[in-house]
Symmetry: none
Subunit: 461 residues, 2 copies
């Protein structure tokens, strides 16, 4: 067995190099949602592919109708497990730009963190699994097991190309377990293995009233105002107790077990401090559930954006011709996004007032998932995390969605180890996204030890 | 008493001269909103002032910080009523230019109409009251009553200078009644006296939740989303039947009298054609009232603009930190905008969910107004319109607000006769503004007879 001391030394000596590489990637504005940034997305893909080529991995850049997938395989090791590592090089749009302390694509170090769009989500986290492999290659000459990397550029917009690739090449991606670092620790210095994720169903609703904006004095009162209609319809989707008012919405929800609820209760969580960090005087969620349950294990309805009419200075007395809203439901096992979408459409049609035409666009959907805790892979990951972070992980669920985890289960028949190096105040998707550099290096170390621990598992048993 | 036959002849013989004068004024691009056109605005003021000087009226061009007010007085006639005539020589910007069939400042005759920016609003309508005075001066040597003209150049940008002038010189403007032609006939060939205007109370509501946008997966479910809150709060202001849900909102509404409702019902109004023109399949308003009642005589609640969160392409899974909405109520007599504002604030405070801070900004307000129909001034105007248009006027209300009418009531204690010669398809504020030349001449004649009819009223009674 390879000496981990030498590897530890390599990691310690190359900290600055790793950070410089991370900054290089963070400087690329690979915003997948905005077609204006198509070239930058491509540039990020090339950058990632080059990392693998430098390690001597067999590397492909798979181009289709969307943004490319970078695929790489480490040289084959017989009788050793195969691990599928998933990550993404695309990022969320950085809006609102004016709230960033330093520009989103000029990575800046402050207080031990690196600030940039994508720092945590997912460039920084993804890179830990590349740098850990680099450490193995540079110190041991090779890896102790088989790694297959699939790094996509459409995670923030629904992973269309990847889903297609997975469906078409299940044999190529055949693995024993998947590893994804795109989640969070439970708290600063409290690393976690995430065993459950919420799903999502994301929609855009467009309401149209009159053929053009109308004078609100001359016409006000005799026709339905699309903005008024929008508010009325959306408010008809959830009551004051946070209960979602779509017939059948809760039908397939698997209730939380007593042991899970107890375990969540046992986690140290300071509600007041959490609310203060968010800048609100009071948390508020579905009646009858705790805050961790609200965030991890209950479905939600959130408006993500909306607009209509006059948004300038002062007053303009207009009845808008149109109103648009983007909104999404977080789902939990076993809710089905397609079934939710159909129920939503009937509910909205029922709520739509006279004189308004509605168009509902299904932007993307994925079901929630829960991974079994009693596998040797989970045990290996727990050990590796203890090596990297100096303490054993806690077991948590997470409110976000990583649709690919569901697809890995369904297409490849494998479970995913969700090993999050981020923190929940990293501002992923918001302004001033950051990633702790300490955790970046701990993550690389945990990843390097993960290859070691996973290589010990007997496969084909 | 002066022979009206001679005056009728003068009007008939001078039609071309009047049209040539109108075109001269329409050629001046007096766009008050655009500082680039400052000289043209000034030129229009000089042109108007010159019209009065040619009639031997005492004329002033009052210059302040904004565009000048042209003020003129006809020679004094003892024991005769004094009429204040209001109009404006400024015009709206002509954009979008590419949609004009002929250029906005090259008046062109087509199908009996004159096409130009300002044709109806308000150069053409205003000029009818100048040309009618000219007819009197040229045929009778003088007017049978006292005319005070106040023609401003800031109507399209808020009348700041005029409001100041009125507040500072109420004695100078002392009159028995005001006349304004800046509205519409009820329909082609259906002249109208507008005896009621709605008021307005316009607000901006800003809701703040978390201190910045949050990931809707990580945080969704445990805090109030400001965009959700906004929809819920706004939908709590009006029910499905169009009834406004603010305690005391209807308290001061003077109900429509049976005779008013009957009179509105008697007006020929094609609901289906009207809906088609707006591009909607169905009109919809407060239960229990007709479409004309909805537009003219009932209060409304309309969202004028709103925005929150992500408005770009595709999906962004964010809980917005803020949500903002501009909305307004059209008011009817005797609703008080200040009282409505206070009641609104309590209602919104009551509707505001946990974890949301609200800020309500009062952008502007003005009460509605109704002119009594049983006054001798209204009777005189009705007679004059019958002489000018060949049929008696209908009595209508209008849904918009003309703030100067409220100011005349409050500052000078006088009512206003709103005598509209325009048509509601004249494209005021839009491309291809027009004015019917037939109605231009009818308006001049009605105005000439108005001076005759008003001069018969005994004042100081």
């Amino acid at each position: 067995m390879h000496s981990m001391t030498e590897l530890d030394d390599y990691l310690r000596e190359n900290r600055e190099r790793f950070e410089a590489d991370l900054c290089e990637l963070l400087r690329i504005s690979s915003i997948s949602a905005d077609t204006q940034y198509r070239d930058d997305v491509l540039l990020a893909a090339k950058w990632v592919a080059n990392q693998f080529r430098l390690l001597g991995f067999e590397t492909e850049t798979i181009e289709g109708s969307g943004h490319p997938i970078v695929y790489a395989e480490s040289p084959q090791v017989e009788n050793a497990p195969t691990v599928l590592i998933y990550g993404h090089y695309d990022v969320q749009p950085p809006d609102p730009l004016e709230e960033w302390v330093t520009p989103p694509f000029e990575p800046t170090q402050r207080d031990g963190n690196i600030y940039a769009r994508g720092a945590t989500d997912d460039k920084g986290q993804m890179l830990t699994h590349v740098k850990s492999a680099q450490a193995w290659v540079q110190t041991a000459g090779s890896l102790p097991l088989n790694l297959k990397y699939v790094i996509e550029g459409e995670e923030e917009i629904g992973s269309t190309s990847l889903q297609k690739f997975l469906a078409e090449h299940p044999q190529k991606l055949k693995s024993d377990v998947a590893v994804v670092s795109d989640t969070c620790q439970f708290a600063r210095g409290k690393p976690a293995i995430t065993y459950g994720l919420r799903g999502i169903a994301y929609f855009e609703l467009r309401l149209t009233g009159p053929q053009q904006d109308l004078h609100s004095g001359t016409f006000g009162g005799c026709l339905t105002n699309p903005a008024n209609a929008m508010c009325m319809m959306l408010s008809g989707l959830m009551d004051e107790d946070g209960k979602i008012l779509i017939p059948g919405f809760y039908e397939d929800v698997i209730p939380l077990s007593d042991s899970e609820r107890e375990q969540f209760d046992g986690l140290p969580f300071d509600e007041a401090a959490f609310a203060e960090r968010l800048g609100i005087d009071r948390l508020h969620g579905e009646r009858g559930f705790s805050t961790l349950e609200h965030r991890w294990a209950r479905p939600t309805f959130d408006i993500n954006g909306l607009w209509s009419g006059y948004q300038g200075e002062g007053a303009k007395t207009v009845i808008p011709a149109r109103a648009t809203v983007k909104f999404s439901f977080r789902l939990v096992p076993d809710q089905d996004p397609k079934k939710i979408g159909a129920a939503l459409e009937s509910r909205l049609t029922e709520l739509c007032p006279p004189g308004i035409r509605l168009e509902l666009i299904d932007l993307h959907g994925a079901p929630g998932i829960v991974v079994p805790l009693d596998s040797p892979y989970v045990a290996a990951a727990a050990k590796a995390i203890e090596c990297g972070f100096g303490r054993p992980p806690v077991f948590i669920r997470e409110g976000g969605s990583i649709p690919i985890v569901t697809t890995f289960r369904e297409t490849l028949g494998i479970d995913t180890l969700l090993l999050g190096w981020g923190l929940d105040d990293d501002n992923t998707h918001g302004p001033n996204e950051k990633f702790s550099l300490t955790d970046f290096h701990r993550g690389i170390k945990a990843s390097a030890y993960l290859w070691q621990e996973l290589s010990k598992i007997e496969i084909g048993a």
